[in-house]
C-alpha cells in the first residue's frame, strides 16, 4: 500500500535562508501526524510547500503515489487534499451553511452543471450533517462573521472536511481557542477520524492538544527533522527538550 502523503528530500530557500532543509516523511492511511517545533522552525513553510502555496526549491511531494509538486492549490484540493489556515479563514458574509456548501461545491459536477443545477449543488443535506457534527446547528443561518472565534475555528475545520478529503492538513487548529471549545474541537476531530478513517497532518504549538490527538509526532527545528515517533517518546527525547529550551 502506498502512503497517502510522501515528502521526499524537500527543501525551501528564501534567498540565503534555508527555511526547510531536506525533509522527508510519509503519512499512512489513518494516521494523525503532528508536526511541532519552536517558532521559525519551518513548519508553516513546509505546509505551504506541500499544499502548493509555495514552490519547493528541491524535492518532491506525492499524494497517493501521484506526483503533486507544484500543483495549484485548487487542483490539489480536488485530488482530495484539504486544509485549514493558521489565521481565521472563513467567508464572513456568507452564512455558516453557505460556507460549507462552498467548501464542497467545486467537487460536484462541472462549471456548467454548477450554474444550471441546484442552488445548493446537492450538498444541502451533507452541509446540515456537517453542521450538526460540529455542533453548529443553532448557527446554521448566521453570517459566519458573526460567530465567536472558537465557533469560527470549528466551522473552519468543518469546511476542510466537507469534500470528504483523503488528507486534511490542519494549521494550528487550537491557536487562540478557549479551553471548552478546544476540548470540543479535539473531541470532534477524533470522532471524525474514528468515523471516516480520515488522515490528518496537524501543525500545532500547543503540546497538550498534539499529544492527545496525534498518533505520531514529528519535531522540526531550524528546518530539519530532529525527532519522530509516538507522542510519549518524543516528549522524553532530549533533543526535543534541547530545541525548545536551548539557545
Amino acid at each position: 500500500m502506498t502512503a497517502v502523503l510522501e515528502v521526499n528530500n524537500l527543501s525551501k530557500r528564501f534567498g540565503g535562508i534555508v527555511a526547510v532543509d531536506n525533509v522527508s516523511f510519509t503519512v499512512n492511511d489513518g494516521d494523525i501526524l503532528g508536526i511541532i517545533g519552536p517558532n521559525g522552525s519551518g513548519k508553516s513553510t513546509l505546509f505551504n510547500c506541500v499544499l502548493g502555496q509555495l514552490l519547493p526549491s528541491e524535492g518532491s511531494v506525492r499524494i497517493d503515489g501521484q506526483e503533486s509538486t507544484g500543483m495549484r492549490p485548487c487542483d490539489l484540493n480536488r485530488l482530495g487534499v484539504s486544509r485549514t489556515f493558521q489565521l481565521l479563514q472563513v467567508f464572513p458574509q456568507l452564512s455558516v451553511r453557505d460556507n460549507l456548501i462552498l467548501a464542497g461545491q467545486e467537487h460536484q459536477g462541472s462549471m456548467a452543471s454548477r450554474l444550471f443545477g441546484r442552488p445548493d449543488a446537492g450538498l444541502g443535506d451533507a452541509a446540515d450533517q456537517m453542521i450538526e457534527f460540529f455542533r453548529l446547528t443553532h448557527l446554521s443561518d448566521e453570517q459566519a462573521g458573526m460567530l465567536s472565534y472558537g465557533q469560527q475555528k470549528l466551522l473552519d475545520a468543518a469546511m476542510a472536511f466537507m469534500a470528504g478529503p483523503r488528507l486534511v492538513l490542519l494549521d494550528e487548529p487550537a491557536g487562540g481557542v478557549n479551553l471548552t471549545m478546544l476540548g470540543l474541537l479535539r473531541e470532534r476531530l477524533q470522532a471524525y477520524h474514528a468515523e471516516r478513517k480520515a488522515t490528518f497532518v496537524v501543525i500545532e504549538d500547543q503540546m497538550e492538544f498534539v499529544m492527545a490527538l496525534c498518533t505520531r509526532v514529528l519535531v522540526l527545528a531550524e528546518g530539519k527533522i530532529i525527532a519522530e515517533g509516538a507522542p510519549e517518546e518524543v516528549r522524553r527525547n532530549p533533543a526535543v527538550i534541547e530545541a525548545y529550551l536551548g539557545h
Binding site: 492549490p73 485548487c74 489556515f85 467567508f91 467537487h107 450554474l115 444550471f116
Partner: protein
C-alpha cells in the same frame, strides 16, 4: 435584499408598469434610460460588488455594445442578432480584460481598466472608417418585435423593461447558484477559496466576462434609445458614473444598481431648479453618503430596518423566518 420583503418589490413593479402611462414623452425617455443604465450597473455590480474585481471600464463595454448594434443595424442586420452579438463580443473582450486581474489587484486593476476605457474611446474616435469618429452615428432604428414596431417611446420602454427583467432574473438565478457563492468567496478571501478547490482564475475571468456582457447588452439598447451615439458618450465619465451608481445604490446588494441608477437618472431632473449646480450637489451627496454609509442607499435602508433592540429570541427567529422569502 432579504429584509425588503416582497411588498417593496411589488410596489416597484407596479410603478415600473404604471408610470409610462402617466408620464410625458420625456419622462418615458428617462425611465427607459433608467432601465438601460440599470442593466449596465447590474453588470458592474456583479464584477465589482459580488466578485470584488475593480473595473473602471464598464462605460467602454456599453460603448462597444452600442456601436455594434448601431453599425450592424445600419448595415441591414435585424436588431436582435446585432444585440446578442454585441453582448457576445463584450463577453470575449471582458474575458480578455480579466487576465490582468489574475496578475494585479485593487488599485493596479483600477488603472488597467481605466487605461482600457480610454483606449476604447480613442479607437472609437480615431477609426473614422468604421465608427465615423466624433461625428457619431445618428438614427439607429428601433426594433420591431413580432411585427410590432417599438418606435413608440412607451413600447420601446416596455422592451427595455422586459429585457431588464429577463437579465436581472438570470443574474438572480446565477447569484443563488454555486457560482454566486464562488464570486463572493473570490471577493472575501481568494486564497481560502483556492484551497477549497475553487478555480479562482476561471471564476475571475467569468466575473469580468459576465459583467461586461451586461454592459454590452445595455449599450445595445442605448443606441436605439438615444438614437445618437458618439465616442464622448462612452468616455471615462460614463464608467465613473456607473461606478457611482453601483456604490451609491449599494455594492454587492442585488437591488443596489436599481436604486443607484434611479438616483443618477432622476437627480439631475429633480434639481432642474439648481440648474448647473446639480452636479455639485450630486457630488456632495455622494461624498456625504460615503462618509456616513459606505454600503450605499440599500445599506442605509438595512440599517434603518434593523431593530435597535432585538426582541426575545424565538420571536425574532419567527419574524425573520417570515420576512425571508426563499
Amino acid at each position: 435584499m432579504k429584509r425588503f420583503g416582497p411588498l417593496s418589490v411589488a410596489v416597484a413593479a407596479a410603478a415600473a408598469i404604471g408610470l409610462p402611462f402617466l408620464l410625458k414623452p420625456f419622462g418615458v425617455y428617462l425611465i427607459s434610460m433608467w432601465a438601460v443604465l440599470t442593466i449596465a450597473a447590474i453588470g458592474l455590480n456583479l464584477t465589482l460588488g459580488y466578485a470584488g474585481q475593480v473595473s473602471m471600464a464598464q462605460g467602454a463595454f456599453v460603448g462597444i455594445g452600442a456601436y455594434t448594434v448601431a453599425l450592424l443595424t445600419a448595415a441591414g442586420w435585424p436588431f436582435f442578432p446585432a444585440f446578442i452579438l454585441g453582448g457576445a463580443l463584450c463577453f470575449v473582450i471582458g474575458w480578455l480584460l480579466g487576465y490582468p486581474a489574475l496578475r494585479v489587484q485593487h488599485h493596479y486593476l483600477a488603472f488597467v481598466t481605466l487605461a482600457f476605457n480610454t483606449l476604447v474611446f480613442l479607437v472609437l474616435r480615431n477609426e473614422e472608417w468604421l465608427t465615423r469618429g466624433s461625428y457619431g452615428i445618428a438614427g439607429t432604428d428601433r426594433p420591431s418585435l413580432f411585427g410590432l414596431s417599438t418606435d413608440n417611446a412607451r413600447v420601446f420602454y416596455f422592451l427595455c423593461l422586459a429585457i431588464l427583467i429577463l437579465l436581472s432574473a438570470a443574474t438572480w438565478w446565477m447569484l443563488r447558484s454555486p457560482w454566486g457563492r464562488a464570486f463572493v468567496a473570490l471577493r472575501e478571501n481568494p486564497i481560502r477559496a483556492l484551497s477549497l478547490g475553487l478555480d479562482t482564475r476561471r471564476y475571475t475571468l467569468m466575473a469580468f466576462a459576465l459583467g461586461s456582457t451586461l454592459g454590452g447588452l445595455a449599450g445595445g439598447l442605448y443606441a436605439p434609445l438615444v438614437q445618437f451615439i458618439e465616442p464622448g458618450s462612452f468616455s471615462l465619465n460614463l464608467s465613473f458614473n456607473l461606478l457611482l451608481m453601483v456604490i451609491v445604490g449599494g455594492s454587492g446588494r442585488f437591488f443596489g444598481p436599481f436604486v443607484g441608477a434611479l438616483i443618477a437618472v432622476l437627480l439631475p431632473e429633480w434639481m432642474r431648479v439648481a440648474e448647473g449646480y446639480y452636479l455639485i450637489i450630486y457630488a456632495m451627496l455622494v461624498m456625504v453618503l460615503m462618509v456616513f454609509c459606505p454600503s450605499g442607499v440599500i445599506g442605509l435602508f438595512e440599517k434603518a430596518m434593523k431593530p435597535k433592540k432585538p426582541p426575545a429570541a424565538p420571536a425574532a427567529a419567527a419574524i425573520k423566518a417570515e420576512a425571508t422569502p426563499q
